[in-house]
């Protein structure tokens, strides 16, 4: 027997009271939610590897392909 099939979840959402919120930054697929929500799926890719630091007069850029991504 699968455990999940017999699982039931009862949610009672009461009143929400928030006094004061102070945030400097919300970035990179972050979320601040005050209220009810069903599903969250958040992805963030941030790429700064050591080799991203390049010294010299030439741009560290690959050749441009014919077409860009859609």
């Amino acid at each position: 027997m699968s455990l999940s099939q017999s699982t039931s979840l009862h949610v009672t959402n009461g009143p929400v009271n928030v006094g004061s919120i102070r945030i400097i930054g919300i970035v990179g697929s972050s979320s601040v939610l005050i209220g009810d929500t069903g599903q969250l799926t958040l992805y963030s890719y941030f790429d700064t590897p050591p080799e991203s630091y390049v010294e010299g007069p030439l741009a560290p850029l690959p050749l441009l392909p014919e077409a860009d991504l859609p």
Partner: protein
Amino acid sequence: MTTAERTSVVGDVYIRQVDSASVAMFGDQQDANLHSRALALQRAIPVFNGDELRYASYRIFTLPLPSLPAEPDVLTVDNTHAHCIRVGSFQSVLVGASSLIRIGCGRSVAAESRIKHIRQDNRPTRLMEPEIRL
């Protein structure tokens, strides 16, 4: 799943900047789907020549997303009596890169941001600088 309905009462809001596929939502909504991508090129000498870069040149923009395990089969019973959401004060300097602020109810949130960061020291080479004589 149906979306719950509530009344949102917000006293004071200060948001300086909302950018790059971000949302500040006051009240109920259904689904939010946020996508952003950026090439952040930082140069020691800030000289840029227009549209220099292509997303297709970098693998980060085509990497597949990690898959999540399947949802368990759970019977969910919501019991929401339309209570109010009250927020006294909300302050945020920046909401950026596929981020979401929501004061209210909603169904699903899907967000994706991809940022490639390149730092380039494009100053003239040190060989061209006058030698230091001891």
